[in-house]
Amino acid sequence: MTMTPEKQDDVIIRFAGVHKAFGKRQVLAGLDLDIHRGETFCIMGPSGCGKSVTLRHVIGLLKQDAGTVEVDGHDMATIPRKELVALRSRMGYVFQEAALLNWLTAGANVALPLRETTKFTEAEIEQKVREKLELVRVPDAYEKLPSELSGGMKKRVGLARALITDPEIILYDEPTAGLDPEISSSINHTIRELADRLHVTGLVVTHHIGCIKIVGDRVGLLDGGTLNYISTPAEFLASKEPRLVRFLGDRLD
């Protein structure tokens, strides 16, 4: 995606000087990041560096110790519960392990946000669910329980659930973790297609270079509690910065 001047000003997610510690362990230490409407930003970094923690601040699952996190102008630390619910309805979250409720079928899992928070009829809900399952290429999963789905299918159903409310922002927590390269590539292309077709803003946490190449408009390395080397995927991968080269070395091999 090419940034127009208007888009560059149109920040939808903003981290400013965000600090977060768990006990004595400082995870985020002055994180600054602006994500523009419609772009897909990827966060890379070593395990345990705070990538998922960053993501959780955006949707209000965690609150920062210092600094501000703003989503579409709302300060996530002080947003009233009612406004948070409304804001969350405009966001989708794809969990690392899909986090499907194991006692509900895939169709019921995808339908859950609509059944619980909207007044759509059952017929309308079923139609929307089937549309989303078709969109993420698992139309046959509707009647299946999560235990009957493969890892890749679970991720796709999780993606369909995140999409069911037609969100403006989708947060992806390791969308291809634990999947083989072929399925990973397929899911990455699905995410890219969704971004292009639906014009949603994406924030993707990933370990995979393949993911940032296909999905990302921009990418940054989260290390030492701050985001560094923010650039396009091509520039990121071509960088000669020693820290980045060291981090990417094994993965490029």
Binding site: I59, L61, L84, V85, R88, S89, M91, Y93, F95, Q96, E97, A99, L100, L101, N102, L112, P113, E116, T117, R161
Partner: protein, 259 residues
């Protein structure tokens, strides 16, 4: 010492808050009826055989132990009275609640704990879905309903088991045994047309069901740190439920029979 006491108070506070949240969600009974029926099946029908098996042997033990002592004084014709009152007031509700804590409560804690550590609860939060209304209220309601029903079964089968021992081993005829049972469960203090020994036991069972469900759900919802955390939550649910049942039992007994 002090941090432990603070943690204990926080625990109590959390569970009371959870209980009051459940009360607020009772208005959603109609919309959650399918989930409630499912939980009634899980919390009740699936453990009936355990309650019946334990109940009959408890009745037989009470009958045998008290019967042998009463026989020394030639008072074995009072066995029916003692078995009936023991089962209705104490043994029935306590044994039933303990079985529910060990079977259903542990399963609740493990189920919700697994949901917590596999991010399913976080997913509900992200989707702004009320997890108390979806997960906790149906389970609390199911146990609150099923515990008294199972207690009635436990009382009944325990009294029958006691009668079998009285007849076969203590030479107390069945008709004498059951006459003394009926006599002992007469009371002028009626509530819902029930003798005090029975309704006090059923009210205890209702409270025990709520206690087991709230403690077990609370333990599961707060599980962390993977499989180990789920194991800890399950152990905590059973341990705390049984301790709470015993403490509540004393105060309710005092309230009904001494206050």
């Amino acid at each position: 010492m002090i941090p432990g006491f603070v943690a204990f108070l926080q625990d109590i506070g959390y569970l009371l808050d959870l209980f009051f949240q459940v009360l607020q969600r009772l208005t959603a009974i109609v919309t959650r009826r399918a989930l409630i029926l499912e939980q009634l099946w899980q919390a009740g029908i699936k453990v009936v055989h355990v309650v019946l098996l334990v109940g009959v042997f408890i009745g037989m033990i009470v009958s045998l132990q008290t019967g042998l002592e009463l026989a020394r004084f030639g008072q074995q014709d009072q066995i029916g009275t003692i078995v009936a009152i023991s089962m209705a007031r104490e043994m029935g509700p306590f044994i039933t609640a303990t079985i529910l804590a060990a079977t259903v409560g542990s399963a609740l804690a493990a189920e919700l704990g697994t949901m917590a550590v596999s991010e399913e609860l976080a997913a509900l939060e992200v989707m702004s879905i009320d997890r108390v209304a979806l997960l906790v209220m149906p389970r609390v309601l199911a146990l609150a309903i099923m515990c008294p029903i199972l207690t009635i079964l436990c009382d009944t089968i325990g009294i029958i088991g006691g009668g079998f021992v009285a007849d076969s081993q203590l030479n107390v005829g069945l008709s004498l045994y059951y006459d003394s049972v009926i006599d002992s469960l007469q009371d002028t203090n009626f509530f819902l047309e029930l003798p005090k020994d029975v309704y006090s036991g059923l009210l205890k069972a209702f409270c025990f069901g709520v206690i087991v469900a709230v403690i077990s759900c609370g333990a599961g919802l707060r599980a962390t740190a993977g499989a180990l955390g789920v194991g800890n939550a399950t152990r905590k649910a059973v341990r705390d439920s049984i301790i709470a049942i015993i403490i509540a039992n004393y105060f309710m007994s005092w309230l009904f029979f001494q206050a």
